[in-house]
Every structure is written in structure tokens, then in C-alpha cells.
Amino acid sequence: MAESSIVVGEDAGRAPARPRRELVRLERVGKTFANGVVALRGLDLAIGEHEFLSLLGPSGCGKSTALRLIAGLGQVSAGRIVWAPGAGRHREARRDIGFVFQEPTLMPWATVWGNVYLPLRLERVARREARPKVEAALAMVGLTGFEGAYPRELSGGMKMRVSIARALITEPRILLMDEPFAALDEITRFRLNDDLLRLWQAESWTVVFVTHSVYESVYLSNRIAVMAPRPGRVVGEIEVGAPYPRSEAFRTSQPYNDTCRRVSAKLHEAMA
């Protein structure tokens, strides 16, 4: 279990309640790669439904590995991953998971439309049938009108929006994001942060967001799991009680600064 649990921002009266129902739980999960590198050992983490959880840690602490294991990309070497009944990576339920990589990971030979359509195409949904869903997903990320554009014609932020639209097309219950905005400039990142929060509130999925930015994790999440490297594990969990919707004002508020300080302290502790 987590070694500590700190609740900050007690003044947050309208903060979302503690997750009601557990969606997926990692129990003593370990991952050792073929070359002998121990990426994770004894990782415990519970992810609640409708939660926005950040995995925060220095590079090499196995946060991406943990995310990939949740997605079912790779087998755990020890422990287990337990899904709530009816969710997770059963063959019929694979559309439950949306994954967004650090890179936009688009097919350069396909248009925006073709890229967003991909998950449905792989499910053999006909184009005509998929059209309203693709259009809805593009509208969600603000890319209506760009259907025919090719990825190389888009900016970095727009490519990332396409990537998010593709993850949303299957209406997933859980969205796994692996440092999705790390390669973007700050202005773009802030804008995408806000758009993501807006969508998360409207659609109420569960989000697991991997990041190495203290500030990004505090701004976005209602809970932060701090990870330590060698071997990768969760060393502390911090609740961010601030209410949603959060905006620019939150970035300069006292609760935000306090939480950032606490998270930073935890992170330093983890790396010591």
C-alpha cells in the first residue's frame, strides 16, 4: 500500500468525492525485462472510477511501464492486475481502454479522418456507420473541418488533438495517457490541459495520466501517485482537493502552491 496519504485543500467544499467504485487495481505488480532490468517491484495502486489520477516520478521510475501493463501491452512478471467486473482488457471489452502516447503516433499516410477512424476500422465498423462518431470525436477536440488534412500539415498540438480524438472514438471507460503533452510548448500544453479537464468533466471517464511535471499533475488530477525509481514503485499518494472546473486562477492560488510544494517534497523524498 501507499506509505503515506496526504489530503490538501480542505477548503475545497465542491471537490469531487473519493472515488466510489474501484475500476482497476494493481497488486504487488512487478515487471522484469528480458535483459534483467527490474522496472517495477511491489507496485500497489488502486484506480477508482471517474478519477483523474496522475503517475508522477522521475524518468526511469517505471511509470510508463505501469501504464502499458494496465493497457495490457506486456505481461506482469509478478503480482496481478484486477479489473472491476465487466471492464478492462477482455477481448470483447477492449474498447474500454483509450491510450495516448507521448508522440501523436499518427499514421502519416492517412488523413485526420482516417486516423481517428482507425479503432473502429479495426473493429470492422463501416465508414458510413462510423462517420457520426468520427465527427463527434473531432468536434470534442476542436478539429472540425480538418478531416481531410494529413498529419504533416498539422502543428504539434493539433496532432496531439487528433491522437486524443482517436482514443476517444471508442468511448473508453479509462483513458491512459503517457506524458501526452511533454513534447509540446507551454502555451499549447496549458490549452490542452484545460480542454482535457473540460472533456473529463463532461464525459466522466477515468484518466490515468503519466507525467514528470509536478505542476501539470497538480493542475489536472484529483489524486497523484508519486513513484520512485530502482525499482519502480509507488511511494506516496497525495489528494488534490481543489474543485473543478479549474482555470488559470487556480495556477496562482494558495492551495495550488501548497500542493505543489508537498508533491515536490514527496518527489525529493522518493529520489533520495
Binding site: L73, R91, M107, W109, A110, G157, M158
Partner: protein
């Protein structure tokens, strides 16, 4: 490069992508360069031809030793009736071999990606086939294959096959690993991954291989015709060169060589154009950032 810069902004890429349009004024400089790119080699070529003609005329070199370019041109026109059917035969072998090499190369490359063991077992032999000079293998093939036409086809195929196989294999394996993961996440079948991910990803590599293979299959066809010699039933361009050589018809030899070169250039240009048409929409590595 100039194409990238001068490419007009797509109408739909509205506000966020506006900086793209800045490249437009840079049109005139590349155009000047493009004209120079054609004119400069043309001038050098004409100069060399004029020099050649002058040397032949001034020194009164007999045409059975060195014909001037004008005589070569004259002989090309005069002997068109002989050379043209020969060219058609050489072209037929070239393209048949290229077609078989494409089907075989791509097919084997797909087989390689489905099984590591097949690749490990077969790839070394593909390399051996490639590194052994075709001029050394051709006589053997001509001995064991009765039908000369088939033998020529095999020779041209051997030369053209490898670049397609090697490039396509490389291309199929160079699909973005995250995209492969994504396909796995959405439960894509092997066939779907091949069709929607690996084959499109391999397309630029395949087209590069095709460009090389086009020229090589022409060379393979000509070399094999030489090996077959006058003994063969062949009447391709190489056969015409041999025949003209025996008759000391040097201008015709030059004319045939000229025809082969032109054919090679045309094949190369055709495949370059094909690659451009297929890839122009997406295969550019320029990443544009917001703001």
C-alpha cells in the same frame, strides 16, 4: 525541397496552421535553380558532343574506329527498323523480370515478417544470389534452362529481386512501434496490422527498391543477352550490339548503347514520378509546431 516550401496552404488548414503560408514568396529563387539544373548539364553535354564531332572530323577518324555523334544519330534513324523490335524484346524481358521480382520480393518480405525463422533461413541465400555477379551465373543458367527467353528472364530477375526484397523487408519492420502497440491494443489481427500498418509504412522503402530494381533489371536483361550471345535465339539490343560488333558497324553499336541508356533513364524517371505521386501527400519529415 522547393516543392515543400512553395506548396500552397490547404484551404481547410485555417488559423492555427497559418504560418505555413510564409514559404510562398520563395518561389522565384528555386525556379531559377530549376532552369539552371536543366540548362547546365545540357550545355556541358552539347559541348562534349561538339568536341567529339570536331575531333573526329579534324583527324579524319574512320567511322569503323570512332563515328561522330551525328553519324550515330543518322545510324539510329536509319537502323530504327532493326533496333526498335530489339528494344521491344529487351523491354519485355526487363519488365517481366521486374514484375516477377516485385511479386516475389514483396511476397517473400511479407513471409519474412510473419516468421523470424523463415527470414533467418532464407535471407543469407538471397544475399548470396545478390553478391554473385550475374555475368558469372548467366552462362550456367543458359546451359540448364533450355528456353533462352526463360533463361534471360531468370537472369534479369536475380538482379532485380534483391533490392525489392531487402527494402521491403526493412520497410515492413520499420513501422512505428507505438502504432504496432496501438493495433495490438485494439485487437487487430495479423492481417489487419499488415494491411493497414506495415504495408503503408513500407511503401516509401518499396518504391525506393523499385527505382533501383528497374534499372538493374534492364542491366540484367542486357548482360544475360550478352552471355547468351549470337548463339541464342535472342534479338534484343545486346544481340544487336554483338552482331554490329562482328560486322564492324560501330555507329550502330553506339546507336544501340544510346538506346539502352535512354531506356534506363526513362525507367528511372518513370519510377521516380510514380514514387512522387504516391508519397507526395504524406511522406515528408517536416514537423511543424504550433506558435
Amino acid at each position: 525541397m522547393s516543392r515543400t516550401l512553395s506548396k500552397p496552404l490547404p484551404e481547410r488548414a485555417a488559423p492555427e496552421a497559418a504560418p505555413l503560408a510564409e514559404g510562398r514568396p520563395a518561389l522565384s529563387a528555386p525556379r531559377a535553380e530549376r532552369i539552371a539544373r536543366v540548362l547546365a548539364p545540357l550545355a556541358i553535354g552539347l559541348l562534349a558532343l561538339a568536341l567529339w564531332e570536331a575531333v573526329v572530323r579534324v583527324n579524319h577518324i574512320p567511322h569503323y574506329i570512332l563515328p561522330g555523334p551525328l553519324l550515330v544519330l543518322k545510324s539510329l534513324i536509319a537502323d530504327w527498323g532493326t533496333l526498335w523490335p530489339s528494344l521491344l524484346i529487351t523491354l519485355q524481358i526487363t519488365f517481366m523480370a521486374l514484375a516477377v521480382a516485385t511479386i516475389g520480393g514483396v511476397g517473400l518480405a511479407i513471409l519474412f515478417t510473419t516468421s523470424r525463422w523463415i527470414e533467418l533461413s532464407f535471407f543469407p541465400f538471397a544475399v548470396i544470389l545478390q553478391v554473385t555477379p550475374i555475368i558469372a551465373i548467366a552462362p550456367l543458367i543458359l546451359i540448364y534452362v533450355d528456353n533462352t527467353y526463360i533463361a534471360l528472364l531468370i537472369c534479369a530477375w536475380i538482379v532485380a529481386f534483391f533490392p525489392i526484397l531487402a527494402n521491403t523487408t526493412l520497410g515492413l519492420n520499420s513501422a512505428d512501434h507505438n502504432l504496432i502497440d496501438l493495433f495490438q491494443l485494439y485487437g487487430a489481427s495479423r492481417w489487419q496490422t499488415l494491411l493497414h500498418l506495415r504495408l503503408p509504412a513500407a511503401m516509401p522503402y518499396f518504391l525506393g527498391g523499385l527505382k533501383i530494381a528497374g534499372g538493374l533489371s534492364l542491366i540484367g536483361a542486357i548482360v544475360a543477352e550478352f552471355a547468351a550471345g549470337t548463339a541464342g535465339t535472342g534479338s534484343g539490343l545486346a544481340y544487336r550490339i554483338l552482331e554490329a560488333g562482328y560486322r564492324l558497324n560501330i555507329p550502330r553499336m553506339f546507336a544501340a548503347v544510346l538506346l539502352i541508356s535512354l531506356t534506363g533513364v526513362l525507367i528511372f524517371m518513370a519510377f521516380t514520378l510514380l514514387a512522387h505521386l504516391i508519397l507526395r501527400r504524406w511522406h515528408e519529415s517536416a514537423v511543424r509546431r504550433e506558435r
